[in-house]
């Protein structure tokens, strides 16, 4: 996934879409005050500049789907692993809740079900039937909407054709009004994302840890230290 920080307005539509798509529980104000919320996707805001002349960088942060995910080897029951799609998946049914993975995720992108969360009426009628509700005591995190990936794959297989590039869109990508997010198949060299993946203005979070995230950010042009805009550099990349 590619996230263009130049375009993101910080509107948080992606956050809401994620919550609706993935049956993310609403934990309430009391829990929010003590860091008990569950947010697979959240907007990290960085403020810079002075009192009157400031700028805000909004950065949507989610599970980085690390290629060398530190969260995986520490799970004693193999409840989290990299599947054949290259996604770091979380198997809720297998999770016993040691929470070791959450400590070992340098991005703090794993969330624990501290309680059996309930949806206030009438919100339970809009739960997504394709996504399981998690019980208390298991870990959860962004899955890149793997239910959508699976559904698209099934459809493609039943029609006996390869998966088309634009067929799968995670909820956040689909929703973003500014089209700041780009999702695709890196294994396909002709896909848009594969072509954009090596752009020099891309950055990864905590690159020095060697987790090889599969989420990259297009750096802001006005970010401190950003090289001057090369006209045309980001066209069709």
């Amino acid at each position: 996934m590619l996230i263009d920080l130049n375009v993101c307005t910080g509107c948080s539509a992606c956050v809401v879409a994620c919550r609706a798509e993935n049956n993310i529980p609403i934990t309430g104000a009391h829990e929010a005050a003590r860091n008990g919320t569950i947010q697979w996707l959240h907007i990290d805001r960085a403020w810079s500049g002075g009192q009157d002349d400031f700028s805000v960088e909004s950065r949507p942060i989610t599970c980085q789907q690390c290629d060398a995910a530190p969260c995986e080897p520490v799970c004693p029951v193999l409840a989290t692993y990299t599947n054949s799609e290259g996604l770091c998946v979380q198997v809720y049914n297998r999770c016993v809740g040691t929470r070791y993975c959450a400590l070992n995720c340098p991005y703090d992108q794993r969330f624990f079900n501290w309680f059996d969360y309930q949806w206030p009426t009438p919100m339970e009628v809009q739960l997504n039937p394709d996504v399981s509700r998690r019980t208390r005591g298991v870990m959860e995190k962004c899955s890149f909407c793997s239910q959508r990936v699976l559904a698209a794959e099934r459809a493609a297989r039943s029609e006996g054709r390869p998966l088309r590039e634009d067929e799968v869109q995670p909820a956040c990508v689909q929703t973003c009004p500014a089209q700041a997010l780009l999702f695709g198949d890196l294994a396909d060299p002709d896909s848009r994302i594969a072509r954009a993946w090596r752009h020099p203005r891309l950055e990864t979070l905590l690159e020095e840890l060697g987790t090889l995230p599969r989420v990259r950010y297009v750096r802001r042009q006005d970010a401190p230290g950003a090289e001057a805009l090369q006209p045309g550099a980001e066209d069709d990349e």
Binding site: E31, R34, N35, G36, D44, I61, P70, P73, V74, C75, P76, V77, L78, R94, C95, V96, G97, T98, R99, Y100, A102, L103, N104, P106, Y107, D108, F111, F112, N113, W114, F115, D116, T135, R136, G137, V138, M139, L205, L206, L209
Partner: protein
């Protein structure tokens, strides 16, 4: 729990030098019974809290992102540490043929087995879904799912079960001759119990020879296991990429800390036994004195480790590690940190170093402060690393324990006391054959001075 009444004495006290050592097994006072009731109450309350927590969810505890581990893991490391008392100390003393060890070994070995059993419960208590803990065991199942052998928690599982097996054997083997003695002196259900446990021990020359061989072997094996167990426990932290956990020194640091707290626990329990069971003739000041010297060494070693760990962190000044470091030295956790230094070094060091202060009372005080200090040490390893801001993300969260966490921890303390009390009612807490030497001394070396025969 223990249906012994002084009226129908199940073991007849034969006039002999072992009598005062068998005495605690059959004389049960009122205080003992009250204590058992009290402890059972505390344990039941802890069990209730655990079940309650299981129904509500772990949200009941003070844990929240990013502090995913806190009280229970602290307790876990602490108890595993205590378990090093026993086996390690008694095994080292046995291998080095320190003859003053005789009255100390059994008490130490029992601590190991019980502390290990209690410590092993905490990883389960701490699970989000504790009823599925058996998924950590590699058992054949229809879906061919195995545990993840790459996970340090899985290593823990094997390390602890190995250690529990080894230390239980190491407790049991030297007890064989005593069990046979108790078998010969008892009637009723106790006789049947001891007959079963004594495994037809007759005390022949060949049996002694084999027993001695087995004990020596187990002593060597158990030292290796004990060192590896606490190293593996420390690797739960060092293997993670959490700044301030990821430290190469943790293996030896944890082992040293474990032996440190283990000796403190041993001294404390010996002092209580001596008082309650009137074993002044057997647990003499010289035994305490020798243990205190060991404890002094470990105090210094501990101080050295903390210094080495802190100064390298400070000098290295890695941005990721500094928030946790400063929170301990001068920030949110500073009161706990300095209390730990006080409890582990400032108070016990003079008590143990100055001969005039090294009385049994002094040692008990030192041991209690060390036990508190070591618990704090474990807490300060686990929590600040997780709670302070890691890397770039502002997720700071101040952890505060919930009463269920405290109750469950206290309940395990009560469980330790109760297990120990029941054990001392069922088995001689001081190795009779070692101390009294009514059997031929297997190694042929000097036998400790037996105490005067009569009951005090």
């Amino acid at each position: 729990m223990n249906a012994t009444s002084p009226a129908a004495a199940p073991i007849s006290i034969a006039p002999g030098r072992e009598a005062p050592l068998l005495r605690p097994m059959l004389v049960t006072g009122r205080a003992y019974k009250h204590m058992v009731i009290l402890l059972t109450g505390v344990i039941s309350w802890g069990a209730f809290c655990f079940i309650y927590q299981g129904f509500i969810g772990l949200g009941l505890t003070g844990l929240r992102r990013p502090v995913f581990w806190a009280f229970f893991i602290t307790d876990f490391v602490f108890w595993i540490g205590i378990s090093h008392a026993g086996t390690l100390i008694s095994a080292i003393l046995r291998l080095s043929s320190a003859s003053w060890r005789y009255p100390v070994t059994r008490a130490a070995e029992a601590i190991t087995v019980f502390a290990l059993g209690i410590g092993g419960v905490f990883p389960i208590v701490h699970l989000g879904r504790p009823w599925l803990f058996f998924w950590l065991a590699p058992y054949p199942n229809a879906r061919m799912i195995w545990p993840n052998f790459r996970s340090p928690l899985e290593w823990d599982f094997f390390a602890i079960s190995t250690y529990l097996t080894g230390s239980a054997l190491y407790l049991f083997l030297p007890m064989l001759p005593d069990l046979a003695l108790a078998r010969d002196r008892s009637q009723g259900w106790r006789h049947r119990l001891y007959r079963f446990l004594a495994m037809s021990w007759q005390g022949t020359q060949q049996q002694w020879h084999r027993l001695e061989l087995a004990i020596q072997l187990m002593a060597a094996v158990v030292i290796a296991i004990a060192v590896s167990v606490h190293t593996i426990v420390s690797w739960d932290f060092s293997m993670a990429i959490v700044p301030s956990w990821h430290s190469t020194i943790f293996g030896p640091y944890f082992v040293a800390g474990a032996i440190f707290s283990g000796i403190a626990a041993l001294i404390l329990i010996m002092a209580i036994l001596r008082r309650v069971y009137h074993l002044e003739d057997y647990l003499q000041p010289k035994h305490f004195n020798n243990l205190a010297k060991l404890l002094l060494t470990m105090t210094l070693l501990w101080g050295y480790f903390v210094f080495a760990e802190s100064i390298t962190t400070w000098y290295g000044n890695l941005p990721a590690e500094m928030p946790a470091f400063w929170s301990k030295i001068s920030g949110h956790y500073a009161p706990l940190f300095w209390a730990m230094v006080l409890c582990n070094f400032v108070i016990p060091f003079p008590i143990l170093a100055i001969k005039r202060l090294r009385t049994i009372t002094g040692m008990v005080i030192a041991s209690i402060t060390i036990l508190i200090g070591m618990w704090l040490e474990r807490f300060l390893i686990v929590v600040p690393g997780a709670a302070t801001q890691r890397f770039a993300f502002d997720n700071w969260y101040g952890y505060f324990p919930h009463w269920t966490e405290i109750s469950i921890s206290l309940a395990t303390l009560a469980a330790m006391a109760l297990l120990y009390m029941v054990f001392s009612k069922l088995f001689p807490i001081i190795s009779i054959w070692d101390v009294v030497g009514q059997a031929p001394a297997p190694t042929g070396e000097g036998i400790a001075e037996p105490g005067p025969g009569g009951a005090p």
